[in-house]
């Protein structure tokens, strides 16, 4: 019964989305608050219905109901409960259902909490969100229904890719989808602004929290994905410029640009057209990602069902949605008000430069991702665009962006004094230079790129902190005044500082790891050893172990630190999953401060003397922890910003009565 209730609920959600779109559109045309309320009610109930459907699917996975085709294809009774639950969104159909859940969820939030929005903007935004829901729900119901049943259920399921049986991957898709689909609200708001001809400060203030939420979730989702690739694939790396990674990275870059351009629109009413353009672009890139991953044009663990029909359908949804959005943009944007003016050296100009660089970076990633696909389609020849391309194009753009970053927040709005801003950064510059010199002097082998990168990281972290120091007048006013100012800093400011410093932390980790990592691979018999970066790994034992749904060989390696002490006992595994016959390797990671000693057990072979030997690979990944801590800080900064009460219009309106001269001390400074 429960499965069929789910099947009904997902169809109900589709019909309600149609009602949501129709009623809200009609409400805008007839200026009817009652019809608008009907549209909002439909949005709320579409989400409720889909939540029921999703719960039904999770139930089917938990009880292993193999009469559901999707469960048969993606689960197995031997799979632990946690991964059975995660299997509900580990498949193509289930993940599309989750996408729809996020889509209707954001629609419900817009309908339920969009009270501060003007009636016209809200009605059009709710209608657009409904239409986006209709497209993906219709696709789910008619072309990729997770509730399709099997007349003759098999005895066992066909399991899930064992690589995906991992806690990080249980969380990775939900975060990623909240991020991808969070951008749909921004898309809907952009359409509403175009229809209403109004993209003013109020609108921009509405765009910001949605973008922030989506951006933070995307940051966490991408980082989890990278972390998973790092410790699960056992290749020693964390980012491979894989088209699937790029597919999630491009919406992130656009959302980052949008966050910054929305500030300009909000503070100065400037750049409304560009902000709308980015708002349309963010969700377009999200849909592009969904298409790339699901159409079968890419081969990877993400490329679920290789099904051209579904690919064509998704491409149609992408084309129609983005096409209509940008056509509306071309028609309406030229008529938009231009907004405030600003001098070439000003906070606005700095943010424009930020946007130009981020847009150019997105374009290079897009080219590097699509070119091989287009080339393969046209010439039938498979080429691969790898790290060398991105190192030559993306990295320099980012280098310029990050070099200029600390100066941006120190510039005043409208007209700024660049010299004064740079002067305030002398501490950061000095420390960065010292870091470079120290790196060149100490780190072996000597690397100019490494020294420059470390200097950049220090520059970013100290530069971001400089801005806070400026705001609280550190060392210039008495301590109590400093503390008072520190307490008065708005959360938005903390968020920005954390995000920028987090970027610096990431740069430190990424540069250090890529420049000074070491790798040794050797075939070892029991008792033999290999050395990597001064650490000695001795293969002490290899024993079979049994997992819940796999058999494994577990090696025990004694890792001795360069000073002769015991660093850790590394226990990497090589697992055989019987249900699918796949072999995976389970990496052992010893954390040494910020660095990782990373050990991979290869397959068993027969040595020259007939005894068993194993291929063991040891990696030394210095400061690898920072690569994941940095983005974590960035996402945390996003959440802190999101909690700034100035972003919550309703609460803000109550807290600050109109024109009342600062009854409460308002936060110092502005949001950037």
């Amino acid at each position: 019964m429960i499965v069929e209730i789910g099947a009904f609920a997902v169809i109900l959600s589709l019909v309600l989305s149609v009602l949501q779109t129709g009623a809200s559109t009609l409400a805008r045309i007839r200026r009817s608050p009652v019809l608008a309320a009907v549209g909002e009610g439909a949005a709320l109930s579409a989400f409720a219905a889909l939540a029921v459907a999703f719960a039904a699917l999770v139930y089917a996975f938990v009880v292993s109901d193999f009469s559901v085709a999707n469960v048969t294809a993606n689960s197995h009774t031997a799979k632990p409960l946690l991964y059975r639950v995660g299997g509900a969104w580990g498949s193509h159909e289930g993940s599309m259902l989750m996408w729809c859940l996020a889509l209707t969820g954001f629609g419900a939030l817009l309908a339920g909490y969009g009270r501060g929005l003007s009636a016209g903007l809200k009605a059009v935004a709710v209608a657009t969100q409904g239409a986006l829901g209709v497209a993906f729900l219709a696709y789910t119901v008619f072309a990729s229904n997770p509730f399709w049943r099997l007349a003759d259920p098999p005895v066992e399921g066909r399991s899930l890719n064992p690589l995906l049986q991992d806690p990080a991957l249980i969380l990775h898709p939900p975060f990623l989808y909240v991020g991808y689909v969070g951008l749909s609200v921004v898309f809907s708001l952009a359409i509403a602004a175009l229809v209403e001809g109004r993209a003013d400060a109020a609108w921009a203030r509405w765009v910001r929290p949605w973008t922030l939420a989506a951006w933070s979730a995307l940051t966490v989702g991408i980082t989890l994905g990278a972390f998973w690739a790092y410790y699960e694939l056992g290749w020693g790396g964390w980012w491979f410029w894989d088209p699937v990674e790029n597919a999630s990275f491009m919406p992130w870059l656009i959302a980052t640009a949008l966050l910054h351009s929305a500030v300009v629109t909000e503070r100065r009413g400037a750049l409304p057209g560009w902000t709308i353009f980015l708002a349309l672009g963010g969700y377009t890139f999200s849909m592009l990602g969904a298409f790339l991953v699901r159409s079968g044009v890419l081969t990877s663990v993400h490329a679920f069902a290789v099904d051209p029909t579904r690919g064509v359908l998704l491409l149609t949804i992408l084309g129609v949605t983005a096409g209509l959005g940008f056509a509306l943009f071309a028609w309406r944007a030229p008529a938009m008000a231009r907004g405030g003016m600003f001098a070439p050296i000003s906070r606005e100009s700095a943010l424009v430069l930020n946007n130009i660089l981020l847009a150019a970076a997105t374009a290079t990633v897009l080219l590097g991702t699509l070119y091989p696909l287009i080339r393969e389609a046209m010439a039938g020849e498979a080429i691969s665009v790898g790290p060398p391309y991105f190192n030559l194009t993306f990295t320099p753009l980012m280098f310029i962006l990050l070099l200029l970053l600390p100066a941006g927040p120190l510039l005043a709005w409208k007209r700024a004094d660049a010299g004064a801003a740079l002067q305030r950064l002398w501490v950061a510059a000095l420390l960065a230079a010292l870091a470079a010199v120290a790196t060149l002097a100490l780190a072996e082998p000597r690397s100019l790129f490494g020294a420059a990168g470390l200097a950049l990281g220090v520059w970013l972290i100290i530069g971001s902190l400089t801005e806070v120091a400026e705001r609280i007048r550190l060392f210039r006013v008495p301590g109590r005044e400093v503390l008072r100012r520190l307490g008065g800093l708005p959360r938005g400011a903390w968020g920005m500082t954390l995000a920028h410093a987090g970027l610096g932390v990431f740069v430190l980790g990424a540069v250090f790891e890529t420049t000074w990592k070491a790798e040794t691979a050797e075939v070892l018999a029991l008792g033999q050893r290999l050395e990597v970066a001064g650490y000695v790994l001795t293969l002490e034992d290899v024993a079979p172990t049994l997992g819940p749904n796999y058999e494994a060989e577990q090696a025990t390696l004694r890792a001795t630190a360069p000073d002769g002490t015991l660093a850790c006992m590394a226990r990497p595994e090589r697992r055989l999953y019987s249900a699918g016959g796949q072999t995976t390797s389970e990496v052992a990671i010893c954390t040494r401060g910020l660095s990782h000693l990373y050990v991979v057990l290869g397959e068993r072979r027969t040595g020259v003397d007939g005894g068993p030997v194993w291929l063991v690979t040891g990696y030394w990944n210095p400061w690898a922890l920072l690569i994941f801590l940095g983005p974590g800080l960035m996402a945390f900064g996003g959440l802190i910003s999101l909690s700034d009460r100035r972003l919550r219009l309703v609460a803000g309106r109550r807290a600050a009565p109109a024109l009342a001269p600062a009854a409460k001390p308002e936060p110092v400074g502005e949001l950037t």
């Binding site: 019964m1 309320a37 509730f147």
Partner: protein
């Protein structure tokens, strides 16, 4: 079924109720005020506040203030009159709220499988356990036995039966795993070691791998007369080129087997085969009698219940592995005729027929 209709009813009523409640609130005049003006007013007060604290200079205060005020004025001008529509007729609203669930139900009845019950694995397992064992096919039998092993974790027998059922389902790897479990509980049973060796051998498509040989050796340690282990170890010797030594072992084994032993003819045929040819040729049926019996059981079941594509593929593969070309071709012809319009099964059949026989 009644539960389903109650759930559909509750869900539909909740949805319609939610829509009607929002509409009723809007009709009662609970409309939202435009927040644009308060927002600019707040921006103005923020500027005042910053200026009061000396964070912006006096002339900047003036120009910023002027700009924000200009925007406030233009926003006030741009804001149209508030939306006020006459209350809508209640029947129209009601129709809208009810139409959605009704349309959804119509679509559901056309698209989905109304009345199809849930089939949780635990419930199906209970049914299989309640059914007479003769009515279960090998995979279902294996599922039942697997649940029995969970209930009697210290008893090696359920694992042994599970291994037989897994073997019959064509999953030699699973059979080997079950036997390892059984051996963990009863390491001194020669028959279990022999079965493990065979399972490993079948998993390796007939080759006597070092692991399989090790299992047979363990069987011999427990029971020096273990016939199956002796047979396969000798076969391994013959394959490795030590034909004479292997044949000697086989002849010794033949003399040890009682005259009534059903394995004698198989062994005699194998000996004749190897001693006649310059190279060790595959005996007609080299598998142990248990395997042959399992395959016969499968064939018999397919005669009774022929609509089982997986079963046919397994049967064809089994004959291929056993080297029984004639029966393989007969089964293949039958299966091909049966599934002529299903290319996927045909390709699986072809693959199964192409499996190398074990030598």
């Amino acid at each position: 079924m009644i539960v389903f209709w109650i759930a559909v009813g509750v869900l539909s009523a909740a949805v319609a109720g939610l829509i009607l409640r929002r509409a009723a609130r809007a009709m009662a005049g609970g409309g939202d005020a435009d927040s644009t003006l308060p927002l600019y007013q707040r921006q103005l007060s923020e500027i005042e506040d910053l200026a009061d604290r000396g964070l912006i200079a006096a002339d900047e205060r003036r120009s910023t203030h002027a700009e924000a005020a200009r925007r406030l004025l233009s926003a006030a001008n741009a804001a149209g009159p508030a939306w006020t529509a006459p209350a809508m007729a209640r029947p129209v609203l009601l129709a809208m709220a009810v139409a959605a669930p009704v349309a959804a139900l119509g679509l559901y009845l056309g698209l989905a499988s109304p009345g199809y019950r849930d089939q949780p694995y635990a419930q199906r397992l209970d049914q299989w356990r309640a059914a007479p064992p003769t009515q279960l096919d090998a995979p279902r039998m294996a599922a039942v036995l697997r649940s029995v092993t969970g209930e009697r974790p210290t008893d090696p027998e359920p694992y042994r039966f599970l291994a037989i059922a897994e073997m019959a389902s064509g999953d030699a790897g699973a059979a080997a795993r079950a036997l390892r479990e059984a051996l963990r509980l009863a390491p001194d049973r020669a028959d279990l070691w022999e079965s493990l060796g065979e399972a490993l051998m079948v998993a390796a498509e007939g080759e006597v791998t070092p692991q399989a040989a090790a299992a047979f050796q363990r069987a011999l340690e427990q029971d020096p007369q273990a016939a199956t282990a002796r047979f396969h170890l000798a076969r391994g010797q013959i394959e490795a080129g030590e034909v004479e030594a292997g044949l000697a072992q086989w002849r010794l084994l033949l003399s040890d087997l009682p005259t009534a032993d059903p394995r004698r003819p198989v062994l005699q045929a194998a000996i004749a085969d190897v001693s006649s040819g310059p190279r060790p040729a595959a005996p007609a049926v080299v598998g142990a009698p248990e395997i042959a019996a399992m395959v016969d059981g499968l064939a018999a079941r397919l005669v009774a219940e022929p609509d089982d594509p997986e079963g046919w593929v397994r049967l064809v593969r089994s004959y291929s592995v056993l080297g029984d070309v004639a029966r393989r071709d007969a089964a293949l012809t039958q299966a091909k005729a049966r599934y002529a319009d299903n290319p996927q099964i045909l390709s699986e059949l072809a693959k199964a027929a192409a499996v190398e026989p074990m030598r």
